[in-house]
């Protein structure tokens, strides 16, 4: 660009020399005509030539903008007419100075933005942290349904903050770049003008001191451009880091979200599939428990029942025994009655005919005795039968009871078995559930930890921008000194200071890890134990 403008200038200079030369020739021709016309009486011979020359001169002067050229002999790239003085230089430096002031505004913008990002990041991380703790608590208490929404909301919030962070970083980077671009344009103008001034100083034989000052300024501008280039390179690293960290964070966020999703999904599925079965199992368990209770009640009832049964048996036996005594008494009475009847028959025989009627009575009494005995025998048999019947009846009753109880016992055994199976199922279910939750929870913790790790990029980027801010501040301060010292004194010491600022910045940057360059050296550089 500078070379092209130089060529243009050479062309313009050649044009200037050409038309000035032609103008001089034409003027000489005109003067010659006028001179000869005064010497020669025959004016008329040269009159036509003189008129033609004047017309030619006027046409030439108009066409070649001779008038303009005499007033404005040089043109600058800025397309603004300037004098070959330091005024233009001061004008440019004033603009540069104004730009430097604008740079301060950029610094404030950067600072404010970073503070805001930092605050937002911290807030999001606190929110995430709280959420993580609450999820862990909820996992412990097995209630997850609501927490997923909250987790989602928090992840969304963090993602949105990260987007803001990335946007803000991009804005900062753009602001700094714009700033650098403006400075660069202004400096290019300044450089061009300095070149002109150097040339004009040579052509107008200016003082050596002036030339030296201009060379010094050129040196400062060169260094300034180097500083800007170095900052620009670091800003590229910042952009790279920001994008990398944002991508990494978003990826990790996705993992987090997936982890949370899988836990909740698993639990939701587990609920759908197993809850109804578990409910049935629980209902059955309740039934089993009730039947066990009933069985236990029956077992508790048995001694009372036995006791009452035994009492009844004893009472029945007592009654039968009592009846047996009565039968014996009847037998005794019928025996004595029989003997009495026999004796009566003997006595009747002794009485002869008079005792005939009495004998009949005695026979009848004997029959009665026999019948009584028979009846007693029958009663005895009946009683014996009754005793057997009672005993048999009791026996059957016990058997039924035992059968019933055996049946209940087997039912209870079945219930207990089912209850046990149900409990084993439930144990297995919870075991699997917690294994899955635990696995996902570990993964969740790991992912969260990685997210937190990658937030460290913010610190790395912040430090890099702070160093860029610092070097811009130092450079701006030097420019202020350039502006101050330009009209009053020497500026050559400032070149050294400019170089010192640049070298200091580059040294500081070299201390730090450059994520765009260190990929080859990789992890070995990241961690070292002494």
């Amino acid at each position: 660009m500078a070379g092209q403008s130089k060529n243009n200038r050479i062309k313009k200079d050649a044009n200037n020399i050409l038309f000035i030369s032609i103008s001089i020739i034409l003027i000489i021709m005109l003067m010659s005509v006028v001179f000869y016309s005064t010497l020669d009486a025959q004016l008329g011979r040269y009159q036509n030539i003189a008129i033609l020359s004047v017309v030619a001169l006027l046409v030439w002067a108009t066409q070649s903008r001779l008038l303009k050229i005499t007033q404005k002999p040089f043109r600058f790239i800025s397309d603004e007419p300037v004098e070959i003085t330091n005024d233009k230089l001061h004008y440019v430096i004033d603009r540069l100075s104004a730009h430097v002031m604008q740079g301060d505004t950029t610094q404030d913008f950067v600072k404010t933005n970073f503070s805001e990002i930092e605050v937002k990041l911290i807030q999001s991380m606190q929110a995430l942290n709280t959420q993580i703790n609450s999820i862990i608590d909820l996992l412990k208490s097995e209630i997850l349904d609501d927490s997923h929404d909250v987790l989602d909301a928090n992840i969304m919030q963090l993602a949105s903050t990260l987007t803001q962070y990335v946007n803000a970083n991009t804005a900062i980077e753009k602001a700094l770049r714009d700033n650098l671009k403006q400075t660069y344009t202004l400096l290019l103008k300044l450089q061009t003008q300095l070149e002109f001034l150097t040339q004009s100083s040579v052509s107008t034989q200016s003082l050596d001191i002036e030339e030296k000052r201009i060379h010094n300024l050129e040196g400062i501008v060169e260094t300034h451009l180097l500083v800007d280039k170095a900052i620009d390179q670091q800003l590229q690293v910042v952009t790279f880091d920001t994008h990398q960290s944002a991508l990494l964070l978003l990826d990790l966020m996705r993992h987090l979200s997936e982890d949370a999703e899988s836990i909740v999904q698993y639990i939701a599925n587990a609920n759908e599939k197993n809850v109804s079965k578990m409910e049935r199992d629980m209902d059955n368990s309740v039934k089993f428990i009730i039947s066990i209770e009933q069985f236990i009640q029956k077992i508790q009832e048995i001694p009372d029942k036995l006791r009452s049964d035994i009492v009844s048996i004893q009472a029945a036996s007592g009654v039968i025994d009592g009846l047996a005594h009565l039968v014996d008494s009847i037998k005794e009475i019928s025996f004595q009655t029989d003997i009495l009847a026999v004796n009566a028959a003997i006595q009747a025989a002794h009485a002869g005919e008079a005792g005939l009627g009495f004998k009949i009575v005695a026979d009848e009494v004997r029959k009665l005795a026999v019948n009584s005995n028979n009846a007693a025998e029958m009663i005895e048999m009946g009683l014996e039968k009754a005793r057997h019947t009672i005993q048999d009846g009791l026996k059957f009753k016990f058997l039924d009871e035992i059968m019933l109880q055996m049946d209940s016992a087997s039912q209870v055994m079945e219930s207990v078995k089912q209850l046990q199976e149900g409990q084993e199922d439930m144990q297995q279910y919870y075991k699997t559930l917690f294994a899955v939750i635990n696995k996902n929870n570990t993964k969740l913790s790991h992912d969260i930890s990685e997210v937190l790790g990658s937030i460290q990029y913010e610190d790395v980027v912040r430090q890099r921008i702070e160093r860029a801010q610092q070097v811009i501040l130092e450079r701006n301060e030097l420019w202020r000194q350039v502006v101050e010292q330009l009209s009053t004194g020497e500026v050559d010491g400032l070149i050294t200071q400019f170089n010192a600022v640049l070298s200091d910045y580059l040294t500081k940057e070299s201390y730090h890890n450059n994520s765009m360059e260190s990929s080859d050296d990789g992890p070995s550089l990241k961690f070292e134990l002494f």
Binding site: M125, Q126, I132, S449, G453, I455, D459, K526
Partner: protein, 124 residues
């Protein structure tokens, strides 16, 4: 008994992120924002099992903090790790001379950080 890790960094985000990672791994974490505040806590009786410090901090940097902490009674063999954006060999050497146990370059992922801590804190 949870091991105590003392974290020193001027960046609030760093403190927050590393603290969370360590606490989730079961460590107890104490923090300070610069070397001066860190020394104040150490002289006041804080006995950490490990110190993790940044290098560039206001008031007192990491190198000076390591030197001063090493001079305290009972801190001669305490593991001290640096966690910094600086990665140049000369700076590492400076850290080593000051008495650092290891040098970590930011950013460090949670898993990597815990791996290194397990190496310098056996049985933790």
């Amino acid at each position: 008994m949870a091991k105590i890790i003392f974290l020193v960094d001027d960046s609030a985000t760093m403190l927050m992120s590393v603290k969370n990672t360590l606490e989730m791994a079961g460590y107890k974490v104490e923090t300070a924002e610069d070397g001066v505040k860190a020394m104040a806590k150490l002289t006041a009786g804080l006995k950490p099992d490990l110190i993790i410090t940044d290098i560039n901090m206001p008031n007192m940097g990491g190198i000076e903090l390591i030197k001063k902490a090493r001079a305290l009674p009972g801190f001669r063999f305490l593991p001290i790790l640096t966690l910094t954006t600086e990665s140049q060999q000369s700076r590492r050497d400076e850290g080593k001379q000051a008495g650092a146990t290891g040098w970590l370059v930011k950013p460090v992922g949670g898993a990597d950080l815990l791996k290194v801590i397990k190496q310098v804190l056996p049985g933790a």
